[in-house]
């Protein structure tokens, strides 16, 4: 039994972190101080990419200024510290995802490459003619196209779990689509276009009852909620560093060791081998088997700093705060005449896709930009989602923990300005 004072300390420590001190947090992000078209920047395009805190910028700078060298090969001082830093980042990500081993954490360029890796390595080895891959109707193109390529290569079939008009997956349809030919399920943890948080733990359990492995596209989830891969039980989990307030060009594929061991390499080259002769090559151990060539070392170091930063703020506090922002923004936008929100799932992350009667999202985007408000307008790389809701595109405001209710007010005022221009 723990001494009472420790329990008290832990409680007060959690209490001090929540609610978030957003004003202080904003000081950590130099870009949030800038102006756009003479107005303060209101950055609401976080689903596209997150802004970078100074500690991440400093980590990348420090790496290039004081440690730059190649890793896993030099016997000189710089190579040793660079290798140690890069591998320390891997260990940080392992803890961040609660993976059971650092060998399960593969550095990739981003979510897209993570999914392509699984499609081409796991898929080409284990998916055969007549087999099926199951995805959902709300996937980003990066969780559709790699599977289409695989299906074409091996003669498999891509099947799609439909959703209802709120943007929620139809679980009974999912159950119906799982069958003996299904060799892999790949679904978004959080939808980038709709904000829907899928019941991924349940989806994994249902697939596992039939011994079907599951890949989760965590690009929109990992920056906003606690992800515990062992608790979720998923076989693969991919996310991008740049959406998690780290550098671009770096991301993570988590895979269970038993799968990664059985999979052939994705790319051949240096670092992924242990012995090469012209007759035969022996592959390196995990995770290096999947990391051919010199990686994005600075990116890996920066991602480690981003993971530390986000963990320091606390993902529980982030999730709670963003939920509050979402509720506030949803209510405020709903007062705008002719505005319709696309994506009204019960479980939602802080993503607000909307359309305005008689105004194309692209025009909304331009007017908002003139007010300093950065949103995304378009199909969000999810064209089938747009087709499902019968719209060519949407305007999308997506939030992060550094956004404020005052910024939501600026957004709503800017949307009223759109109406003034177009009506």
């Amino acid at each position: 039994m723990k001494p009472a004072h420790e329990v008290t300390d832990a409680k007060s420590w959690r209490g001090a972190r929540s609610p978030l001190d957003v004003a202080r947090i904003r000081e950590d992000f130099p870009i949030l101080k800038r102006q756009v078209h003479g107005k303060p920047l209101v950055y609401l395009d976080n689903a596209a990419t997150g802004q970078k805190p100074q500690v991440v910028i400093d980590a990348v700078n420090r790496y290039y200024a004081t440690e730059n060298s190649n890793i896993h090969r030099g016997i000189h001082f710089l190579s040793e510290i660079a290798t140690a830093d890069y591998e320390e980042s891997r260990a940080k990500v392992k803890r961040f995802l609660n993976a059971s081993d650092t060998g399960e954490i593969i550095f990739v360029r981003g979510t897209t490459e993570g999914i392509n890796l699984v499609a081409q390595s796991y898929g080409r080895r284990f998916v055969k003619q007549g087999d099926e891959i199951l995805i959902s109707a709300m996937e980003h193109h990066s969780n559709i196209v790699p599977w289409q390529i695989l299906c074409e290569q091996v003669g498999a079939r891509l099947r799609v779990v439909p959703m209802n008009h709120d943007g929620e997956l139809l679980i009974e349809e999912y159950e119906r689509l799982l069958n003996d030919r299904t060799k892999l399920v790949s679904v978004a943890h959080v939808s980038n276009a709709l904000g829907t948080v899928n019941p991924v733990k349940q989806l994994v359990e249902m697939a596992h009852r039939r011994k079907i492995p599951v890949l989760l596209d965590g690009a929109q989830a990992a920056p906003h909620m606690k992800v515990d891969v062992q608790e979720l039980g998923c076989d693969f989990y991919a996310f991008s560093g740049h959406k998690l307030f780290g550098p671009t060009g770096i991301g993570i594929l988590y895979g269970k060791s038993k799968h990664l061991e059985a999979m052939p390499p994705y790319q051949g080259g240096g670092d992924m081998i242990s012995l090469v002769t012209f007759e035969k090559t022996h592959y390196n151990i995990l995770p290096y088997k999947f990391e051919a060539g010199t990686p994005h070392i600075a990116g890996g170091v920066g991602l480690g700093a981003a993971v530390d930063y986000l963990s320091g703020i606390g993902l529980e506090a982030v999730t709670a705060y963003e939920k509050e922002l979402l509720a506030y923004a949803t209510e405020a936008l709903c007062t705008v005449q002719g505005l319709r929100i696309i994506g009204t799932a019960k479980e939602k992350a802080a993503v607000l896709s909307f359309v305005l009667d008689g105004v194309h999202p692209h025009d909304i985007g331009t007017v908002l930009d003139q007010e300093g408000v950065a949103i995304r307008a378009g199909h969000h790389c999810a064209m089938p989602v747009m087709q499902r809701f019968g719209v060519p595109a949407t305007a999308r405001a997506s939030f992060a923990f550094y956004n404020t209710k005052e910024e939501v007010d600026v957004l709503v005022r800017a949307v009223h300005k759109v109406l003034k221009v177009f009506r």
């Binding site: 194309h360 999202p361 692209h362 378009g378 221009v421």
Partner: protein, 150 residues
Amino acid sequence: MSELSDLYQEVILDHNKSPRNFHKLEGATRTAEGYNPLCGDKVTVYIKLEGGVIKEISFEGSGCAISKASASMMTDSLKGKTLAEAEGLFEAVHKMLKGEMDSDADLLGIGKLAVLSGVCNFPARVKCASLSWHTFRAALQGGGGMTSTE
């Protein structure tokens, strides 16, 4: 600073609300589809050519105010033009949208289309305005395939 009112001029908003020649053209001799993958704008241009003259021209599709107004004004200004005149207009519009017009005299030469000159101050929107023109050109060149702004 670029002014919104330079981009969204009354004439443009009017063409957006009530686009001219906005229908399928029965008996078209040339047609092409254009697509802007960035924002999802789609346009189909129909042309009826007779003896090297654009007898009739129309369009269909969905898109933002700029792309719709540009397509609408394009059909208005191309009707009755010879192919050579149309090519000249294409070049002039292209130059205007890229902000490469040398003088106001150049702008005068393209008539009503000059209201689109504000677009060059909004780089992200240039493709919206040029989509219909590229699609028009693709229709003339035949092939009937899909034109993309990318």
